[in-house]
């Protein structure tokens, strides 16, 4: 007689593959997971509570620290919400700069994901390739606003700094470089049989499940749904540029992988058009009152961050501070499906599936 016993295994709170301080308690029957309970909150800083005592400009640096891999999109969603409440017009040059940094950020964010995902699965070298290329974007941001990760770049009504001389040229030089590197990535990894065996057919769900769990971003599009807020509910200047929304078919980790790589290509396509149309001269700040006081009321705005729909719900009482500020964080909502996906999987697939969702714990906990 073989004696079997249920094993309770704690993963985290500090674990290299959890991309932050995330913990999950799994119940194992041999190698197979029978139950999984995620535990969050280790990075909870109370951003929403802190924001109630800060004015809107002061909140912007806090948004940098939510999804610290994609701070530019977080900056944008807050500014965009306040601008919507106040009905502000943004100068074209400022909006172009915002769009360019957001798309560069998407590329940088997907590169972090690509590198770390492969690292999780056991491939060391792709990480070095991805970070080599991401460094170029980080340097571009550093030149623009003096920070490598927490940019605090956007303001209600525009952007803080204009692009320095030659910056736009550097962005246009980066585009063909990155395109050639993407081919290298594909040669290096995408066809690798061991890699494919690890991710194909893993973590599968259908479109209906994805919608009911409120998934967004690549996690939603991998099921075949063509849903990208840049197309479906265009904001900023996205309706001016031609780009495709890559969608998957099977809803597995492989589709999510393909989509994110293709999104880098599409972002480069947007960047190429944006750089070409970039206006000569012009203001980088619109007409904004000295003290930003949105009128009484509330808005919910949402944009497409690299991880999905990031939303900002503001309730204003006409004061300089928000009465209530709530962020809809895609990582938090996307992570909900994890326990459901894990049941019946093996421990090795836990890492594959968690990495495939692409979370940033700073955003999960907020």
């Amino acid at each position: 007689m073989i004696r079997t016993e249920e094993l309770l295994l704690n993963v985290g709170p500090q674990h290299p593959s959890t991309h932050g301080v995330f913990r999950i308690i799994v119940k194992l029957d041999g190698e197979v997971i029978t139950d999984a309970t995620p535990v969050m909150g280790y990075l909870h800083r109370g951003t929403e509570k802190l924001a109630e005592n800060l004015n809107y400009t002061q909140i912007i640096p806090y948004t940098d620290r939510m999804d610290y891999v994609s701070a530019m999109t977080n900056n944008y969603v807050l500014c965009h919400a306040v601008e919507t409440m106040m009905g502000l017009q943004i100068p074209e040059r400022a909006e172009f700069l915002r769009l360019i940094v957001m798309e560069l950020q998407r590329v940088a964010s997907h590169l972090v994901w690509w590198g770390t995902y492969l690292l999780d699965i056991g491939a060391m070298s792709p990480f070095l390739y991805a970070f080599r290329d991401r460094e170029i974007i980080i340097n571009l941001f550093n030149e623009l606003c003096g920070a490598r990760l927490t940019y605090n770049y956007m303001r209600v009504g525009g952007v803080k700094w204009d692009a320095p001389d030659g910056w736009i040229d550097k962005v246009s030089e980066f585009i063909p470089y990155m395109e050639s590197k993407l081919e290298e990535y594909d040669r290096l990894v995408s066809g690798n049989e061991i890699f494919l065996a690890r991710i194909k057919g893993i973590g599968v769900y259908d479109a209906e499940t994805a919608v009911s769990y409120g998934l967004s971003g690549a996690n939603l599009r991998c099921t075949g749904l063509n849903w990208d807020l840049r197309k479906t509910e265009p904001y900023s200047l996205y309706d001016r540029f031609a780009f495709d929304v890559p969608v998957g078919r099977t809803g597995d980790c492989y589709d999510r992988y393909r989509i994110r790589l293709e999104e880098i290509r599409q972002s480069l396509r947007i960047l190429r058009q944006a750089v070409e149309q970039f206006p000569e001269g012009g203001e980088t700040m619109g007409k904004v009152p000295r003290v930003i006081r949105p009128p009484e009321g509330e808005v919910y705005v949402r944009i497409e961050s690299p991880r999905g729909e990031i939303g900002c719900h503001i309730v204003s009482k006409g004061k300089a501070e928000p009465y209530r500020l709530k962020f809809r964080r895609p990582s938090f909502v996307n992570l909900q499906i994890l326990p459901k996906l894990l049941i019946g999987e093996t421990m090795t697939n836990l890492i594959t599936i968690l990495g495939g969702i692409d979370i940033v714990v700073g955003e999960v906990d907020c």
Binding site: I90, L225, E309, F332
Partner: protein
């Protein structure tokens, strides 16, 4: 959707001609469906939020919310299969949860609000209707102390399990002010 800044300067004109009509129809449709199928007093208030691009807002009475939520999801005319956001707000005299709903097929959007008493706040859980509500309701419970009867696993999610109080409440005072 229409709150976007469209350079070109045609915004005021669009506001006059386009804004009220389509969303007003969405709002009226939802109100009449709720009143006829759920309860004739299910909707406490309904208006368009002009600030948010004319988003239809419905304030639904808490006792009818679960049934109304089921209808929002299953009624083909509404088809709100996607819960995009769930927020809780403390208005000092009452508490409110806001559900931002979206129909993936038609693109219709609604902001649904449910109000509850502040002393003993309780709003039926809609986790069975939208699984996406699960962690969101836990977050609202944790930070604002609103109870969600019917929730499968209502525990704190952000704060430690032994935390006292609900930090996002307006009258919250930390036990140790130094922390």
């Amino acid at each position: 959707m229409s709150e976007e800044e469209k350079p070109g300067g045609t915004l005021p004109e669009e506001e006059e001609t386009m804004q009220p009509s389509p969303q007003q129809a969405d709002l009226d449709e939802a109100v009449s469906l709720l009143c006829s199928r759920v309860h004739d007093e299910a909707v406490a208030e309904a208006y368009l939020n002009e600030m948010n691009g004319g988003m239809p807002v419905l304030i639904i009475r808490s006792e009818h919310w679960l049934e109304a939520a089921r209808m929002f999801r299953s009624e083909p005319a509404l088809g709100c299969d996607y819960l995009r956001n769930l927020s809780g707000v403390d208005y000092e005299t009452y508490m409110e949860t806001v559900y931002h709903l979206l129909s993936m097929s038609t693109g219709k959007q609604y902001a649904v609000k449910v109000r509850t008493d502040r002393d003993n706040p309780s709003i039926p859980s809609v986790t069975a209707v939208w699984p996406a509500a699960n962690w969101n309701e836990r977050e609202v419970y944790d930070l604002l102390g609103i109870d969600f009867p019917g929730h499968p696993d209502l525990r704190r999610i952000m704060m430690p399990d032994d935390w006292a109080g609900h930090p996002l409440r307006k009258d919250y005072e930390p036990l140790d002010p130094e922390v």
